[in-house]
Symmetry: C2
Subunit: 642 residues, 2 copies
């Protein structure tokens, strides 16, 4: 399908927007009127610039408050429309969006409105253009696509069609089922927007909180599947009013928008197949009349292969010391590079101090930091092809003789994401690349850590949605609802994603404010960085004393927290005391699942290590305890600053 985006969806001047839109891969744009008004050049200039970039102007918009008016007002509105039709000729587009009137004095009379839309269709015909009528969710009289369609159908004129917008339909909880029955050629245009589910006025919600498909909570695939089933073959066009996007880097926003459309096409294909399989397809004939993006399926994940830190000698010593206190043992040394492997249970940590490498460049920019994550998947080549197909930059580093070539893409912060698979009867990755220590000694020394539970990253506020899209598109991860967490010095937005099998979990933290722990860590990282790595254990009450005895410095949790736990939950006094003594935080879900977790102090003022135990199917991350942890970390930072 033609992939289009409205200029209002991103920041910058009109020229900056067009350039970024073209670079992202789109072939169409909607010109939002304000962008034209503020442009210091003629509409013909815009036409020429867009043509030079290979961008078709798919739509001009919006035209407001046309219908349901007095006869005198109708004449004025037709005059206004004709001026815009003239402008459209200069601009080189023949489609205009007319949104249902939101004026308080709209006359609520369908027959009158149909007459007036008929007059508009006639004027459009005379000007050689097409008008598309869209129901705004807050339209005064017309606020559903079904109502708008009845009017458009009643007018029955070739120069008047229906405009569908996923937000206006899904925000009011309208059913999408009847879309498939609308003749595709009568649908003038389709606009796509996602949004988080928010309990607020629909107009404010629409103007400030729309987001790209995959970043919000709407079933856009279901919506788009019905559009395709209707036989619509025009553009799918993103129209996103988002306060964050208004201030974010233009090129990144455009690139994310394009990826989000690709993801939507893949999901739409799935939704259509599901409908066909269920015998629900509204349209005979099976395959869609349009081509939809079809990447390799998201890989089945089987867990973290390793986490790789960029270090220098000092940082390596520091981190290796803490890993040792956690019971990790150095189990390998890279065959050709200054890289060491530490393992405990199924958790593998790589410390990379190789000079003149990606890791050393990363270290120079960010200091001690997570420079790569490797994921074990069923088919690494296909997983890589999928990620690259969504436009994430491939990466290849130096490879020594007989060492494994790992396909990788760069994450939004420039760190690497490797895909690793294993072939039976061939050396494993670690066997191929590392000189390994004696395995039996390792097995004998098994400690309480079973593996990596999750990784949490600290991100700049503007890049949270970019990361959500990265993990959804490239990895096929599923997002969980967002959380807002108080730090003593501001708020932190948090959102977790996981692989379908739950074996890989990534939590994202982005600070709303400038002086939270998350924001200050970002500052030391000069960019994004690790917030914490969580290791899981089957017995946290055994593990923690073990680690503390070895000297691991735990984040101290105030006694008052435990007194409140005692009031909230019917926990035995000895459990409360054991939690307090070990600085273990506690959470319980509605089904009685329990979460026990403890944090180390901040390492290098940047990140911490977490030990978690899940019982009874607890599936979250202890969000209820984030505030007490952030307050304790602030306390630690204040002590360190003295």
């Amino acid at each position: 399908m033609q992939r289009s985006i409205a200029t209002v969806s991103m920041s910058g001047t009109l020229i900056e927007k067009l350039t970024a839109i073209q670079a992202a891969g789109f072939d169409g744009i909607e010109i939002f009127e304000n962008d034209l008004l503020y442009f210091d050049g003629s509409p013909a200039d815009v036409r020429r610039i867009a043509a030079d970039l290979g961008l078709e102007i798919t739509l001009f918009q919006p035209f407001r408050d046309f219908e349901g008016v007095s006869g005198e007002r109708l004449a004025r509105n037709l005059e206004r429309a004709k001026r815009k039709f003239d402008l459209m000729h200069e601009l080189g587009t023949n489609r205009i969006l007319v949104c249902s009137s939101a004026s308080p004095d709209t006359i609520r009379d369908d027959a009158l409105i149909a007459d007036q839309l008929g007059a508009l269709a006639l004027a459009a015909q005379q000007a050689g253009v097409y008008a598309g009528y869209e129901a705004l969710a807050w339209g005064r009289h017309v606020n559903s696509y079904r109502h708008a369609w009845r009017l458009v159908d009643a007018v029955n004129h070739p120069n008047l069609g229906l405009v569908l917008d996923s937000f206006h339909t899904l925000a009011i909880g309208d059913s999408v089922d009847e879309i498939a029955a609308i003749p595709g050629e009568r649908i003038a245009f389709v606009q796509i927007a996602d949004a988080p589910k928010l309990a607020m006025d629909v107009l404010e919600w629409s103007r400030h909180y729309r987001c790209f498909p995959g970043q919000g909570d709407f079933d856009l695939a279901g919506f788009t599947a019905r559009v395709v089933e209707a036989g619509y073959t025009g553009p799918l066009s993103l129209e996103i009013f988002n306060d964050g996007f208004r201030a974010a880097p233009t090129a990144t926003t455009a690139a994310d928008g394009y990826r989000s459309l690709l993801l939507l096409e893949e999901q739409t294909r799935g939704a259509m197949k599901a409908a066909q399989a269920g015998g629900e397809a509204r349209h005979a004939g099976g395959d869609a009349a349009v081509a939809l993006f079809e990447p390799p399926a998201a890989p089945a994940h089987v867990g973290f292969q390793f986490l790789e830190f960029a270090v220098d000698d000092t940082a390596r010593a520091h981190l290796a010391d803490w890993l040792g206190k956690l019971g990790f043992r150095q189990t390998g040394r890279h065959r050709s590079k200054d890289v060491e492997l530490f393992q405990h249970g199924d958790a593998s940590i790589v410390l990379n101090a190789e000079a003149d490498s990606f890791a050393s460049a990363f270290f120079q920019q960010h200091g001690l930091s997570l420079c790569a994550s490797a994921f074990r998947v069923n088919d690494a080549r296909l997983a890589f092809q999928r990620a690259a197909g969504f436009g994430y930059a491939p990466f290849s580093g130096r490879v020594g003789p007989n060492e494994r070539v790992l396909p990788a893409v760069q994450a939004p912060d420039g760190s690497l994401n490797y895909f690793v698979d294993e072939t039976p009867d061939e050396p494993t990755l670690f066997e191929a690349d590392f000189v390994l220590a004696d395995r039996s000694a390792n097995e004998a020394a098994r400690g309480p850590i079973a593996g990596i539970d999750h990784v949490c990253l600290s991100l700049p506020a503007a890049s949270l949605d970019t990361w959500v899209l990265f993990l959804r598109t490239a990895f096929g991860f599923e997002p969980e609802p967002g959380q807002l967490v108080p730090d003593p010095y501001g708020l932190v937005r948090s959102r977790a994603l996981r692989s379908r099998d739950g074996s890989v979990r990534v939590a994202l933290n982005a600070s709303v404010d400038r002086h939270t722990a998350v924001a200050e860590a970002l500052h030391t990282y000069r960019g994004s960085g690790l917030n914490h790595v969580a290791f899981h254990t089957a017995d946290i009450f055994r593990a923690i004393p073990h680690f503390v005895a070895r000297g691991l410095p735990l984040l101290k949790i105030p006694r008052n927290y435990y007194d409140d736990l005692a009031a909230r939950y019917a926990l035995p006094d000895q459990t409360i005391d054991a939690l307090y003594e070990n600085n273990i935080l506690y959470d319980r879900d509605a089904q009685g699942g329990e979460f026990f977790h403890a944090y180390t102090e901040l390492l290098d003022q940047r990140f911490s290590l977490e030990i978690v135990e899940r019982r009874g199917g607890y599936d979250g991350y202890g969000a209820a305890n984030a505030a007490v942890r952030l307050a304790a970390q602030a306390q630690q930072r204040r002590h360190a600053a003295r």
Copy 2:
């Protein structure tokens, strides 16, 4: 009345909060439970620290989801309450807030709830504490103070009272009238919060958008007047959940909170007088049982006396050149300082280059900037006393022989605000302080500018509310509704205030994002600064060509803007052409009032001068044109950056 604030209302650790609250002048605090949980010390430590600071702990809160439960759950909840009562003894407070249950499984049975609240009252009595029952606006069964009062009244126990919270009452549009009929001694506690009127879910609204009295849209004086009429003599306590305050400097927030209570007390006094005058007072006896703050009344303003810029020689030459192009003439030189006076119509501009002065220090910090504003008032001494009474720092500079001593306070950005009055038969301020040029030459040279229309300031995002409170408390200005304006690189919040007579208007701009014109100007100012000064004229179509002929560089507005004006308004083509040729922006209000305004280019990449003409009672600031202006300024900045 006792002035109290909840610890949740500001950022920081508990100790930082207590210190700031004491310094601001409060004598009471509510301990919000989370602040205690995160505190690394015992409740007894908090008691001691608060006592050392002279702060009474007026309340411990919140206790949630107590009532409307099964018998088994009631026993657990009573156990939970008893633990909190123990904690209150350690903390040294005897009052706890119990908010109405928001749990979905609340049993909706008033008789049962009254029984259970009775059990709570008994437990409180046994523990020697008092429980206050508050209706949350989103309470599952009990969500109005009237309902809560019926229950409290039914229990009829001395250890159970009613808690009133202005937000919960006013957010649901409830009438405050019945408050005055509640016996004052049955009101356990009164919480105060203002909020902007927003169309959103009341819980989200309450948790993120509360603000101090005077910063929002609620009639808090009406609410508080009824509370005082009821005979309540306990604390008025601010409880503000505000995302901005969570990240703002703790001391500033606390100081603003204290001022906002003083303002509320003044307004409450007014509301009570008004009710008495109208015969509406619910309580016989006239004067309130409590003392309410009574500052000198807000001054009657009669306009801007002068605006004073901090300059060096280069900046003076630059600004004097532009003022000359606007038809200003140098009309005076200060008797003892390196200060010059420029005038045109009623507009007076002072350029201050005096070495080793406040102005030179201001220039060193901020560069070419507005360092002082002088307001003509009916009584300068009383105006100053009022401002100082609200806690704004007085300022005195050096004064030469026979020069006038001007009372002044420092604004939130450190600039000065002078109050000036005139005594008949005595020299005017300018006559006293300046050697003035021949007045007749001045009169003969009168140009098209009549005076100063308004001043617009650029502020850091966190200080917009601080400024609103400054202008309301110290000056008695009235705020207008806020606006959100798009810049090409983000959003700008804008709010205007004016003196009651409309002779002084100040608009405040604060950038939500980091790369708007407003944010970048703040960066060059290193703090707050002037956005623009608007001068009014009676004939903008005569004025602009006059200024342009003298070489004033106007901000260029794109032709497309005018083509859209032509489509939107039935303006004659020659008017459109004249607007375009003169780069004049146009707005029209619902009553047909018209606004014509043009901007200069940015001076020193910081601020601009605006020429405005108001016709037919137009009373706004052309907010509809802010976006095109910001886009044109962005264009100019891009050109300058090349």
